[in-house]
Symmetry: C2
Subunit: 96 residues, 2 copies
DNA sequence: TTATTATTTAGATATTTTTCTAAATGTCTA
DNA sequence: TAGACATTTAGAAAAATATCTAAATAATAA
């Protein structure tokens, strides 16, 4: 986990689409798979990257594994982006 | 330009550090270079990716090229992330 | 218990990305 | 104008990533 993992995870369009699909609620891997034209193995790989980044959680229910969005990490990223938008002129060590 | 380019641009730690450095104000490529242990050619490559993504602007001033942060694109990304954090239960086509 | 279904793991391949060195371009200064 | 400086472009090598097929694991259903 960590910032780097989060940003890397978000840099792939398939993974962002997975997150978007999970906005509506938990979905099993197979349900997610219907929305893409990749193999189950590839999807599984993407899911593991998202999980590693802390962006999703999984819960096994019998035969299925349900994935849910975890927005905790998003907050950190949001904070970082907001801080870029603020004025930091005084922070530099060499003013012109 | 586009979402994909923006996320890809943000997925590299060197490029994020560049953005952080530019928070304090415009810097020339050479000034940025002092903060990293990569060649000028590599930095130039990173700058071109950031520029392509719309995250920075450049302005030539004689011998130097000054880079500045452009936060317009960040707003789009922020909006996308915020939307993930909202509840979208009604959006799905198959409620359980 | 055997077959079937859902998902992951392993290993290979193709593509993309990062970085480098060397050379090109443009600007300033002596 | 000749040389030095700041930066980019071109092209190559190394590392990381996305995807696939085949096999493994685990749970349910027949």
């Amino acid at each position: 986990m960590g910032f780097q993992d989060s940003f890397k995870a978000l840099s792939d369009p398939t993974r962002r689409e997975i997150l978007t699909l999970l906005r509506a609620g938990p979905l099993a891997a197979g349900e997610l798979l219907e929305h893409f034209s990749i193999t189950g193995a590839s999807l599984s790989h993407h899911l593991s990257i998202l999980k590693h980044a802390g962006l999703i959680d999984d819960e096994k229910k019998g035969k299925y594994i349900f994935y849910t969005l975890n927005t905790t990490v998003l907050d950190d990223i949001l904070r970082w982006m907001m801080s870029l938008k603020e004025n930091h002129e005084g922070d530099s060590d060499h003013e012109k």
